[in-house]
Homo-oligomer: 412 residues x 2
């Protein structure tokens, strides 16, 4: 990491990171495409106006999609240029006019979400949930080790960190009832979070043409954190035979900062599936794309767990190869999430259904209260960092959201 004229100290948003986002700022018109440096953001539109950065037409859109669609060569060019500007002291006065204090900005959704896919890539999560939802059966189904299981979620309800989330209502079985008794209607009693990692596609592909696994870094722009809010009671009643639907579709929160793949170089690791001899060729990576991200989940400030992304069975490169192997195309703004990140021990579980054993084991919080699922007013926060070059940490920032009460027992 080169030295900079900015005072970034030990910040996880140093020159090793340089994540992209979009913010509102009272002093400036419209949505500003920015890069975060420490506790400030650099306004890319302003740099381009002054001739210091290419791509004025990208930054003017107020969204990352256009820049992301420009392709990896342009991503590298802009990243290199930003580093130069922040290292070159002769540019300091000029560049400093494009800096805004982070606390004078409000993040918005950094890109228009095209298709949203959610995977199920943690062996520990899939086993835990299988055991809880299908007791007495083999927890991991027979297809799980052969392909990254996934499904499409609702892209229109993806929101940025800080957006309140209203408790969903819907059909659920009454406590102790069986399917034959039929459902009742009401606010979810098993509202949950899922701590996940999301991958953002930049470069589109062509329908009918699979993306080979080693083209991952040419298509995927970066990474963020995801909270895939889940209503377990709604989900368990509805999900057979076509999968989760209203139990997940009410809201999905993402962190505001999209960390470029280049910032993850020091964090790359092989995933367990890479060494699986039975893997079909299209899922075998020549370059490892597992990533060592250390997540931390807090509920009202109490640390609930520390899920280790490095333990995930499937890498994001395997997921992209799989999602396109049938000829499905990807678009700029596609978001695909890892599924809940859970490690083998309870302190590494990424959801309340696992932490509380589906409600049977209350989790203690620092304020003396306990939880099995989320209560109204609860705030969930997920943060993560990755190892960077020279022993520094690269921050993914935070995805946070507070639970609002349901509007009532019946929709108006």
């Amino acid at each position: 990491v080169p030295p900079t004229w900015l005072d970034l100290d030990e910040s996880p948003f140093s020159l090793a990171n340089l994540p992209y986002g979009v913010v509102l700022c009272d002093r400036l018109p419209g949505r500003r495409v920015v890069v975060r440096v420490g506790q400030q953001v650099l306004d890319l539109g302003r740099l381009a106006e002054r001739g210091l950065l290419p791509g004025e037409e990208w930054w003017a859109t107020g969204s990352l999609n256009a820049f992301m669609a420009a392709g990896a060569a342009r991503w590298r060019e802009v990243r290199a240029r930003l580093r130069d500007l922040l290292v070159d002291e002769s540019r300091m006065d000029d560049v400093a006019t494009a800096l805004l204090p982070l606390d004078e900005t409000t993040p918005v959704l950094p890109f228009d979400v095209a298709d949203y896919v959610d995977f199920y890539a943690s062996e520990h999560h899939a086993s835990n949930v299988g055991r809880l939802l299908r007791p007495g059966q083999e927890p991991l189904l027979s297809n799980w080790r052969h392909l990254p299981i996934g499904y499409h979620g609702r892209s229109g309800t993806v929101v940025v960190s800080g957006t309140d989330v209203r408790r969903p209502q819907g059909q659920r079985l009454p406590d102790g009832a069986t399917a034959k008794d039929g459902p009742e209607f009401g606010p979810s009693r098993k509202l949950d979070f899922e701590a996940e990692v999301g991958w953002v596609v930049g470069m589109p592909s062509t329908q009918g043409e699979p993306v080979p696994i080693d083209a991952f870094a040419e298509h995927v722009f970066g990474v963020c954190l995801v909270n895939d809010w889940s209503a377990r009671d709604i989900q368990s009643w509805e999900y057979q035979p076509l999968g989760p639907f209203l139990g997940k579709s009410f809201a999905t929160s993402i962190s505001p900062w999209i960390v470029p793949l280049d910032a993850l170089e020091s964090a790359r690791r092989a995933v367990p599936s890479t060494t699986d001899g039975g893997l079909l060729p299209y899922l075998r990576e020549a370059q490892p794309w597992g990533v060592d991200l250390s997540l931390e989940v807090r509920l009202n400030g109490s640390v609930l767990s520390r899920p280790p992304y490095a333990r995930m069975h499937w890498s994001p490169a395997q997921m992209l190869a799989h999602v396109t192997v049938n000829g499905a195309s990807v678009r700029s703004g596609d978001l695909y999430a890892s599924g809940t990140v859970s490690g083998p021990s309870r302190g590494e579980f990424g959801s309340m259904i696992e932490l509380s054993d589906n409600g049977s084991l209350p989790v203690q919080l620092d304020d003396g209260s306990s939880r099995t699922f989320l209560e109204d007013g609860d705030e969930v926060s997920i943060t993560a960092t990755a190892p960077g070059p020279d022993g520094c940490r690269v921050g993914l920032g935070e995805v946070a959201g507070r639970v609002l009460p349901a509007t009532g027992e019946r929709p108006d």
Copy 2:
């Protein structure tokens, strides 16, 4: 239906219909938003330029989304104005300059698809598939009569009628193998169509606020035909526990003409679920929104079946109420399809898996050949009409597509 100076004879695209689409035409720049009348289309941008129609800014976008988002009052205003223009002989010369022969135009996707949801609303289809995929078990699961089962599909691979569809490759079990044997990789051997009806959302809703069932016609703009191409072998291997994914995501075709709800007035019927006493209040319709559409499916010109949409268990108003009851919002351009339309008899089945009893019963074509699933080069066409006013028929047009061979046994 008022008389018009156009010669529309018995056309299913008379003044009772007036469906919207978007076309390319060599003689004109860009994408043209048009309304179909008989074998011609009316260029709405041109009418607006001449001051004959409001909404110049909508038509200039080359897509229906902006007009659809303007809301039901504007939809009715434009429809009434178009009728006036086509009835008023004094306007004939002026309006005629905006007419283009249909065969000099090429349809494109009429709107940007936001979220795509696919339901499973035919009792006969759900029972047939349940029986074939889960032999020995109750074919209809216990939740099916309580809620419209659905899931999210891939919006980025929705294509307009006439687009060729490449046979997908993927993981599937070898013939006669069980899950323990593990999968092989290759082109799907069970490529299928699904004859469906699609509903297009115009007016967005707000996240956290359910859309009441009787607000259906304020949000939904119109209807089209859908072919939800399906690879049954890929689907059956992957779909547990999170639902269909790559078995469906490679392509979904829609017809080019979005028929406004107002054109369906004479076709409205109560659906079977309306009279179900056990239905939760949010799914009870005051106004019936079942629709009497007569579908016809052809394979290489041979009629395979005539699925009756009037037999569907769930109406599109029930589907919209359900999809939003948890607070999920809808956007202009959301597409939700009915699921395969199948009636009780074999001649009314809407997919090959049903028509061929999952491959065991070959279906005879007029040319003497037979099919269990689709072969390379096959062309599937789905058409439909609805009863209109004064005994006329309202046409939904056609969704057609041809199967291209897979690119190879392995992606490059």
